[in-house]
């Protein structure tokens, strides 16, 4: 298992903490017991020495008490005087590998009595007591582990429950998880999950509606093609047949245009991940305007470009972006302007520097867009007027491309007359 497990981690932490606490208490017990035993043994040593001295003082003959077997833990000696360096009373002494606790006292006859006990005795006595304290731990530790493990399972059950809820979901189920009854600690997680679900649901709904709208929008050009094909088949008059066949072609063109627009939108969604490169917007504008010049002339519309010198050229005026999409943006704006401008009118595109970025204004002398629907014309498939062949996607595409480049797009009345002004500002990116 490589994935970190919260369960295991808590088990280790809690098990370790309990063990440490127990060991600490054993150590404390050991030290405390030892201090206690030291006190008791010291008292015993002193008492034994006093008793011995009392016995010595009362006996007439001076007994020659020889030191007891040094291999025994207790040793008692009578000395004429203390060895050099040993103070009267309590002291510690090392003899070879043996360590002693010693009490020395002088009797009235001037003789010294020394009572000593091996340090090891005291240590082992204290150790035994401490070990006794530790003993239950060996038994309790496995039991505790099991108990902690169970408690963790029980305590972490809400997490498992939520995990089960999420993992059992179908890919289409984006209903929020229940927040009621969720422990306070996991509620932020559940809330965040629910917010994510809501966002995904919104995106899915938008995509679904868009796909449905796109399919529906294709139905009308298909109806145009089908109806006019039937009309052509049923026509007896050659003129009538010709007109119907022309309309079949127009219907096919419209379907083609719609598919192109839909693909452009799909590309915009994909391009958000793609890389940018320096784009010469002025050159793009010239090229797109060039492509539409013939149509403008045929419609009797003057198409005019006004490119400021400081917005021209690939150097300083270049902005970082998606050249293909920026071309689509220009084409849609110019196409839209031409579509709504009557014969004898004018379409002007002005490109200038705007701070660090560029500002493009496409202006026509058409009827403009009434202010009450201006806010909606960027909605996908919204048409401000009768469907004259457009899919209602042009301005939504412009909006999406501008958005992708971090720019701003607004519509206004043409100053000093009827007509529409589309204003796009693009940062250098």
């Amino acid at each position: 298992m490589t994935a970190p497990s919260l369960h295991r981690r808590l088990l280790l932490i809690l098990g370790g903490a309990v063990t440490l606490a127990w060991l600490a208490s054993a150590a404390f017990t050991y030290l405390d017991t030892r201090r206690l035993i030291d006190g008791i043994i010291d008292a015993h040593l002193e008492e034994s020495a006093q008793i011995l001295l009392g016995v010595l003082d009362q006996s007439a003959a001076a007994p020659r008490l020889v030191a007891t077997d040094p291999d025994k833990p207790l040793s008692t000696r009578l000395l004429d005087r203390l060895p050099p360096g040993q103070p009267p009373g309590f002291s510690d002494r090392v003899e070879g590998d043996r360590r002693w606790r010693v009490f020395a006292a002088r009797g009235t006859s001037g003789q010294w009595v020394e009572v000593a006990v091996r340090q090891e005795v005291r240590a082992s006595f204290a150790a035994r007591v401490a070990t006794h304290v530790l003993h239950p731990l060996w038994l309790a530790l496995p039991l505790l582990t099991v108990l902690i493990w169970g408690a963790l399972r029980w305590g972490l059950a809400p997490l498992d429950r939520i995990a089960a809820l999420v993992s059992n979901r179908g890919s289409t189920d984006l209903d929020p998880l229940p927040e009621a009854g969720t422990p306070r600690e996991i509620r932020p997680l559940v809330t965040a999950l629910n917010a994510l679900f809501a966002r995904i649901a919104a995106v899915r709904e938008r995509d679904r509606r868009f796909a449905a709208d796109a399919a529906h929008e294709l139905r009308t050009p298909l109806a145009v093609i089908r109806t006019n094909a039937e009309v052509a088949l049923g026509a007896r008059d050659p003129q009538e047949r010709r007109e119907a066949l022309d309309d079949v072609l127009s219907g096919a063109d419209r379907a083609t245009h719609l598919v192109g627009q839909l693909l452009a939108l799909a590309r915009i969604d994909g391009a958000a991940l793609g890389s940018r490169s320096p784009v010469d917007l002025a050159a793009l504008l010239r090229s797109e305007a060039g492509r539409l010049a013939g149509r403008a002339a045929a419609q009797g519309i003057v198409l005019r470009l006004d490119i400021a010198p400081d917005a021209d050229g690939a150097g300083a005026a270049a902005l970082s972006g998606h050249a293909e999409l920026l071309a689509v943006l220009l084409r849609n704006l110019l196409d839209n302007a031409l579509k709504h401008t009557p014969a004898g009118g004018m379409v002007t595109a002005v490109l200038a520097r705007d701070g660090a970025g560029l500002r493009l204004v496409v202006e026509d002398t058409g009827p403009g867009i009434p202010a009450r629907v201006r806010g909606r014309v960027r909605d996908r498939f919204f048409r401000a007027g009768p469907s004259g062949g457009g899919a209602g996607l042009g301005l939504s595409i412009v909006d999406a491309i501008v958005d992708l480049h971090g720019g701003a797009f607004e519509l206004a009345d043409r100053p000093g007359g009827p007509g529409l002004q589309a204003i796009v500002t693009l940062p250098r990116g």
Partner: protein, 226 residues
């Protein structure tokens, strides 16, 4: 039969107008619900073909308004939306029938004929008067079982008279039924058509009611069981 076509899409509207005219419908075409409402206020139509997606007032609103104004003209709804909810909404708002784009022109025509027939209270797809039998779908007329060749206008005049068999139909009503907006109507056009019908079907086929109009005798009703 005179139809009002409400369709904002120019190419589709033009195709539908021509396609329906080819089959003898007199078609008036408006591009907005507002114009359609004005036309419905002043002219009696046999049926309306209504697209729901219109600029300005939408088709469903027009439907509701007409039904609220107690206008019972049969309305066939055309739309690009084909979910059950959309269809239910269209029918509940007062639509009599529903067709999803793209559709076959022949089906649209058949549905319109059925709507008009039901409106006239006829269940049979063919109309009868005396020796004459008229089949609106096939656009054929038989006299004693033998086919009679009629021009499109003549057929339309006879069709309208037979839809109102036993009742007087004025010349103006016949003009409305046979000619759409923009069709040129000669001052004696209806007289000419009636004259031709009499020549082809016999003089009593169409009776003239002086000062009022024309009349085709009703077919004798089947004897009612006692």
């Amino acid at each position: 039969m005179r139809l009002l076509l409400v369709e904002d899409d120019r190419l589709l509207g033009r195709g539908l107008r021509t396609g329906l005219s080819q089959r003898g419908f007199a078609v008036d075409w408006t591009e907005t619900a507002e114009d359609a409402e004005a036309a419905l206020e002043t002219t009696a139509y046999d049926a309306v073909v209504l697209d729901l997606g219109l600029p300005g007032m939408d088709g469903l609103t027009l439907l509701r308004r007409r039904r609220a104004a107690r206008d019972a003209t049969p309305i066939l709804v055309l739309t690009a939306r084909d979910t059950v909810d959309d269809r239910v909404a269209g029918l509940d708002a007062g639509g009599d029938d529903y067709l999803v784009k793209p559709f076959a022109l022949a089906e649209l025509q058949a549905r319109l004929r059925a709507l008009v027939r039901r409106r006239a209270g006829e269940a049979a797809p063919t109309l009868r008067s005396g020796r004459i039998e008229l089949d609106p779908a096939a656009r054929t007329v038989r006299l004693d079982g033998a086919p009679v060749a009629l021009s499109g206008r003549e057929f339309s005049v006879l069709h309208d008279l037979m839809l109102h068999a036993g009742r007087i139909v004025s010349r103006g009503q016949l003009e409305d039924a046979v000619y759409g907006w923009g069709d040129e109507v000669g001052s004696n056009a209806i007289e000419v058509h009636v004259h031709n019908l009499r020549r082809k079907l016999g003089t009593d086929a169409v009776q003239t009611v002086r000062g009022s109009g024309y009349l085709v005798p009703a077919a004798p009703k089947a004897p009612v069981a006692p």
